[in-house]
């Protein structure tokens, strides 16, 4: 599957908050200003569970902001309950029950993770669980380069 968004601005989306985070959802305008990761996840997604401990580590390291798109939950409680159980690494989380944002991002499965620069341009897409190796070898060097380039 090609990454149709590489080098393009993030698609417009405006997602409502998930239950328990009632103050703020997640929209494309939140992606302007600093480099961030956008992670597509769902409580139904087994591979997301596999990935999750690493996202928690990454959050703990403070190296990059991670936002979440909670994709296609059948029940409004499912996503929040999953985050309570496994930990919540996300700065902002948007609820995407009808795949609006997921389709706009060209997502085919979860998890998928997008690297977005400070101008809101999609730089890279990771399909499948993100882990330490992918982070060290691919994302971290890219982020450092973006920050040095003044696009942090």
């Amino acid at each position: 599957m090609p990454n149709m968004l590489a080098g393009k601005s993030v698609p417009d989306f405006d997602l409502k908050p998930i239950k328990g985070r009632d103050t703020q959802g997640f929209s494309s305008t939140d992606l302007k200003g600093s480099v961030a990761l956008v992670n597509i996840f769902g409580s139904w997604c087994v591979a997301c569970q596999l990935e999750h401990p690493f996202l928690m580590d990454l959050k703990g390291s403070g190296e990059v902001t991670i936002h979440g798109i909670n994709w296609r939950e059948e029940a409004p409680d499912a996503g929040p309950a999953w985050l309570t159980k496994h930990g919540d690494p996300y700065a902002l989380v948007g609820d995407d029950p009808k795949s609006r944002a997921a389709i706009a991002f060209g997502v085919t499965g979860a998890p998928e993770t997008f690297l977005v620069d400070a101008r809101g341009v999609v730089r890279h897409k990771i399909v499948g669980p993100l882990d330490k190796k992918i982070w060290e070898n691919t994302l971290k060097p890219m982020i450092e380069k973006l920050r040095k380039g003044g696009a942090s």
Binding site: M1, R72, G106, T108
Partner: protein
């Protein structure tokens, strides 16, 4: 046999099955027809060999709904397809467009047939040349013939 014919007949007239739920359908039958036609040409990206019109997958359903919403919002058929392609690439089209990047896809089969014909022709030509260059089987020299007779007689 008669049952088989009846069965085949029934199959031939079976309505095409689609995964569209009644609650997804648009009230305007003309627009619904357009939505169906567009959906039949869009690949279900999680099942890959089905159109979103055929697939029960959740993402296919969401794409069907999106196609209808965009039609209702006033998009042309082309604009709807363009949007989905802009997200997923030409791959999402069950019938890929004819352009530079897909040239191999379209030209491939023709190329393979030509290659097969060429290989067949070359094989035939070589076989013919081998046949022509082999001397007639019967041409033994007189000395050879005498020795052969000798050997055969010894055993007999």
């Amino acid at each position: 046999m008669r049952y088989l014919i009846v069965l085949l007949g029934l199959l031939a007239f079976a309505p095409s099955v689609s995964a569209v739920n009644p609650n997804e359908m648009l009230a305007d039958p003309l627009m619904e027809t357009r939505a169906r036609e567009i959906s039949k040409g869009l690949r279900c990206v999680v099942c890959q060999n089905q159109s979103i019109d055929d697939s029960d997958a959740a993402l296919a359903r969401d794409l069907r709904v999106l196609v209808r919403e965009r039609l209702v919002a006033g998009d042309s058929d082309h604009e709807v397809v363009e949007y989905v392609v802009s997200r997923y690439g030409d791959f999402v089209l069950l019938k890929p467009p004819f352009k530079g990047a897909t040239l191999v896809l379209w030209g491939g089969p023709v190329l393979f047939v030509l290659m097969a014909l060429l290989a067949g022709f070359e094989f035939y030509r070589r076989q013919r040349r081998v046949a022509l260059s082999t001397p007639a089987a019967a041409s033994l020299s007189n000395a050879e013939r005498a020795r052969l007779d000798d050997l055969l007689n010894k055993d007999g």
